[in-house]
Amino acid sequence: MTISSERPSRRGIFLKLGLLLNGAVGLLLAIPVVRYLFSPIARERKPGYRAWVSLGAVESFPAGQTRLATYRNPVVTPSDGETASIPCWVRNVDGKQFQVFAINCAHLGCPVRWFPQSNLFMCPCHGGAYYADGSRASGPPERGMFEQRYKLEGGNLFIEVGDMPTPGAVASLSVRRAPCA
């Protein structure tokens, strides 16, 4: 290929023109491909993100007890199946006050279990433990369990879902870590 540096040759101009046209078509095709791939994080179009979801009648959570509840993720695709079911712990403090905890341990996200015998949430992975009110008791977690906002309406317990607090997003803001010694 002889593309002289002094004077643009006919062949060189056609080569550049061809590259330009091919690049334009390629770019045109790349736009929908990229938008398709990034579709899951285009949140504003998804109804249900940050929605109030019912956990069932208030009577199913007796006063003074902590019960497991499950709800469906409102941001869901039909093929998600059981992976769109999310469990949480509901604590009825005194019949009026509630606490709804995300089931995930604040350490690395394992599902914690409630042990009424010892009045503790315990994590099976690394031995994290929490008191009945969700505050940290012992183990590797740096903070208490994550709580979800709730409201009582028409005899049903609703929680706000969609914006799951995670250790990476929230813990780093709310917990001031001691600098590494």
Partner: protein, 119 residues
């Protein structure tokens, strides 16, 4: 622009693709072959590449089960950004690929392009 040139030179030094590509492009061919009859081979390759890319994209979301297939297509067509476009591209591409490959085969056969110098 100078940075782009330097990056291009670095990649070329590592990949060694520029020279063979230029040799292929500048390879002398008979004057008669500068004709629209010869575009169908590269057209078939382009459409095939398009089919591979869109096919992989669709396979990410399509659920090939009797219970979920229709629902996953509804989601693909109406919820996913540009999903309908990718699906249409794949559907039309399949038809066009058959047509272009057939034309390409006829062209190769009639022109005797499978014979010696081009074989």
């Amino acid at each position: 622009m100078r940075l782009m040139g330097r990056m291009g030179r670095w990649f070329d030094q590592r990949l060694q693709l520029g020279k063979p590509m230029m040799e292929t492009l500048a390879h002398p061919v008979p004057r008669e072959t500068a004709s629209w009859f010869y575009v169908f081979g590269s057209a078939a390759l382009t459409v095939f590449a398009l089919q591979v890319v869109t096919g992989i994209l669709l396979a990410i979301l399509y659920v090939p089960s009797a219970a979920e297939a229709w629902n996953s297509l509804q989601n693909l067509n109406h919820q996913v950004t540009a999903g309908w476009f990718i699906r249409a591209l794949h559907g039309w591409g399949s038809n066009f690929m058959i047509a272009i490959v057939l034309i390409h085969m006829v062209q190769v056969f009639l022109f005797g392009a499978y014979k010696f110098p081009g074989s």
